[in-house]
Symmetry: C2
């Protein structure tokens, strides 16, 4: 069994109120893979350039991540993104986006990557995502991330791709934008009507919600006393979420998806504690289990009902 | 046993994507009282003017709310607020604020209102809130709402008042503004250090979090397919939260507060389904119980743990 992720591998320059990094390993596929590596054998598909150094290869291979499908584009440079976060981390401004080798990325998966049990399509152009789906026809569960850009400039392609996966993972406001529905629940219900098994609404620092034919599940983010760097939190969430679905095996029931929400939430909470991949690189399984237990405690509706008048 | 609330009684003019009301009964004390009336005998303290009509008196007295302490200021006009919400309801613009009789409100409580078991201080000038606290020295639980305005122009007064209550209920970003702490958890922990038993962070459409010496509890908002009017949601939350604490009696433990979060969340979710007090006026106890059961289902962390690699 294995889990394939297709997406960006990048260097990020990030400034937050907690500090700054000029250039550190990032990218959606990187963050996803490091989180998902706790759950299953992960294969990363994405391009890098000549500047991709040994330390980055080593980090990408954390917990046995398979990089056979990472394409080194000779003469090219690795995707670079630079941004600065607002004082409360609620928003960020992009200062620089150099697509570099990512600009002409057209994923061709090896036989091993194509034979995946579970597939995650990180945010790339939706026709490319669709092409990957065609290469992985035996996957038993497929999930997709996207962004407002593709809703605005490639809506038809995006809708075709969404209709071809089992699960859409998107920010709550992007779900509303995609459907024109007035609330996240209404948006998710409309998308479930397209034939998906599950929709996940990411709510940033507030948490995430899961919608399936069997109901809704809502999980707040893990409360933290300090956040160093939110970059990659969504992809780390996806890594925990999709990774644990891969590990659970068998039918992807509502309960499997609910438990996956907890893994995604726990992993994302570690990711933001430090810059880039720093925290998740050295994270351990027992730390994850402990945070899941914390989440169970802090969401348990204890206390007794009271009698109501009227 | 009884519950006293001190705050505004108002007429609101509201426009949202779902519709418009030129003039409807509103105000923090009104919304609080209608929610809290499910749990305990509620006494409302606040001023109204000559224009306060019979229908409004009747609504205010829903489920036996006691209006003996509602002061009719002869020759005056009732507080009026008018606002318009953005298309996704995430923000609102105030078009008109006529304080009217509320401008010179200086609450003097009757013996009955002073003898309350539980006291809620809705958002008014913090020195006035402090004065009310001095009049209710036998209350076994006191809670306070406020707003960014008082943080900006009356910080010392506000801090003195906060330090004199058991529980602060505030928007998450206001908690961070009040303390300068970088996250809501850090802000709440700092305020708990001032000697409070509990801090509640309201997160708007995302839910609310509770912080006590015994830990953190987080509850998402109840997902809705449509929202008509968010006006009064925070005060309705407070009515369910504080009301159920009054009804529980005895020591206000972490578990009592956790259950109170569920009542607050359930009541607030009904409030926003229609304009103003329309939905909560005709709400029934069984409907509340059903929504609480829904909340339990949609927050229960079901599913099995998976084995982690590493």
């Amino acid at each position: 069994m294995s889990l394939t992720v297709v997406g960006s591998i990048a260097y990020d320059g990030v400034k937050t109120p907690a500090g700054e990094r000029e250039r550190m390993l990032g990218g959606a596929a990187t963050h996803f893979a490091l989180a998902a590596s706790f759950f299953d054998e992960v294969r990363v598909v994405g391009p890098v350039g000549d500047d991709f150094d040994e330390a980055s290869w080593a980090t990408l291979r954390t917990r046995g991540v398979n990089t056979d499908d990472v394409e080194h584009v000779a003469g090219g440079k690795t995707f670079f993104w630079k941004g600065v976060y607002s004082s409360n981390l609620n928003s960020r401004e992009t200062l620089e986006t150099d697509l570099n080798v990512f600009e002409h990325f057209d994923p061709k998966l090896s036989a091993g990557a194509q034979a995946c049990d579970v597939l995650f399509l990180a945010n790339i152009q939706p026709d490319l995502q669709y092409g990957v789906l065609q290469q992985c026809r035996s996957a038993r569960f497929t999930a997709l991330d996207s962004m407002d850009l593709w809703i605005n400039i490639a809506r038809e392609s995006l809708e075709r791709t969404i209709k071809a996966v089992d699960c859409l993972i998107l920010n709550d406001e992007e779900l509303e934008m995609l459907t024109g529905a007035p609330t996240t629940l209404a948006a998710a219900n409309e998308i479930l009507g397209w034939g998906l098994k599950a929709v996940v609404a990411k709510q940033g620092k507030y948490g995430a919600q899961l919608y399936t034919a069997d109901g809704t599940f809502a999980l707040p983010a893990y409360p933290l006393a300090a956040v160093a760097d939110p970059t990659g939190a969504g992809d780390t969430f996806a890594g925990g979420f999709v990774g644990s679905i891969a590990a659970a095996g068998g039918e992807v029931t509502h309960d499997v998806l609910v438990r996956a929400m907890a893994y995604g939430t726990a992993l994302a909470s570690f990711n933001v504690e430090e810059f880039g991949t720093e925290r998740v690189e050295r994270l351990t399984g027992p730390e994850i289990d402990e945070r899941i237990a914390d989440l169970e405690r802090m969401t348990a509706l204890s206390g007794d009902a009271v009698a109501l008048r009227g």
